[in-house]
Symmetry: C2
Subunit: 226 residues, 2 copies
């Protein structure tokens, strides 16, 4: 019997915004893989830490590079690390922040492992934009409104901001000041709210982004209502 | 002490895709309000039924009308029903399918109750589109790709289908055959997958929507990759 890989979404930061299914998979898995950023951050792990104290947790340093070849090599090496356990018939659960299908680099690993002939399964998680809207006590979209999710670094952001309905700018970290300036230029600043580290201890809400003085954490997003 | 209203997302259908927070709120709430469609369906209630066997559950028939005034009156009447409990200092949890901030009529009630001076809180849930992508073992969006969520009935669907990135057509129930025809006309049918009742007992996946012969359940969506 060959092992199976699970990609487990652990939600945006609040320890209670983890699903019953995610907890069961984490409890049942033989090995848990937790992403670690180059900076040392292990945000996804911190969310579920108290539920998995007894488990074997392997830290995976996530590759970050603009060199596509180097990136690929790094993912293959990470996949090798996971495959060692799967080959022995062990199940592995790779935890990811938010939802695995929304801007998660986990999906690259999922694809490599699947192509190597192993079964994989994705456990959905609460997205940061749903958590932020809930925190702000406001709808993301109602009736016939579209909802457009954009990485803040998306090239056509400027034009896309005028698409009908609600826009969410994700991963608006280092570029947040230019995002704010763009919102001012496009006359949308009064329609924008920014949430930083939603549901975490250091959560911050900017209802007026003009008050934003410095670059932001990786975990920030902007909701722009029509 | 006046009571508080919680809007609790219970996810797309799988009983395990409920969060720890949703379960705590349902356990602690004095009264649980469960939406009931005119057809008698109580899908949100069915998801959490086994967790709330001991609780007082009040069925709320959800107004459906194109007459805006009639709809408003109906929501006010529902709010009156909720307010009776809040006035007594009781907390009420209104359960909603998926996430409360994504196309949920609950937000209308939330707004009315908030305007009447009561505290409200929203508990996010797993969206149907995240669950469907997970089920299909595929990413919704990666790297710099946008993600566009549209109600299938959205007037500019045809043009929007050519927006870059992934498109999700929600609530593609009665109009599903015209949605399919539109996808064929626009040359996108081979990029589309349809998921009906994701995570429920009667789940169905159409990887080739040309095989679709009849109109579909309310709980279906189409993912269109670029």
């Amino acid at each position: 019997m060959r092992g199976k890989l699970y990609g487990v979404g652990v939600g945006p930061g609040d320890k209670e915004l983890v699903t019953v299914k995610a907890l069961r998979i984490l409890r049942e898995a033989d090995v848990i893989m937790a992403p670690k950023m180059k900076s040392g951050e292990t945000t996804a792990y911190n969310i579920v830490e108290e539920y998995i104290r007894e488990k074997t947790v392997i830290e995976c340093v996530m590759p970050m590079s603009k060199d596509f070849e180097a990136l690929s090599r790094n993912y293959e090496a990470l996949a090798d690390q996971i495959e060692k356990h799967l080959k022995d018939g062990k199940s592995a659960a790779f935890i990811t922040l938010g939802d695995p299908t929304v801007y998660s680099t986990y999906m690259q690993l999922n694809e490599i492992i699947r192509k190597r002939g192993y079964e994989t399964e994705i456990i959905p998680g609460i997205t940061s934009f749903c958590a932020a809207a809930a925190r702000l006590n406001m709808p993301l979209c109602e009736r016939n409104e579209p909802l457009l999710i954009l990485p803040a670094s998306y090239e056509q952001s400027k034009e896309s901001l005028h698409f009908p309905g609600t826009k969410v700018l994700m991963k608006a970290n280092r570029g947040i000041l230019s995002t704010r300036d763009m919102l001012i230029e496009e006359g949308l600043i009064d329609h924008a709210v920014m949430v930083e580290c939603c549901g975490m201890e250091n959560e911050k809400i900017y209802r007026d982004m003009r008050e934003l003085k410095e670059k932001s954490s990786y975990f920030s997003l902007v909701i722009v209502k029509e």
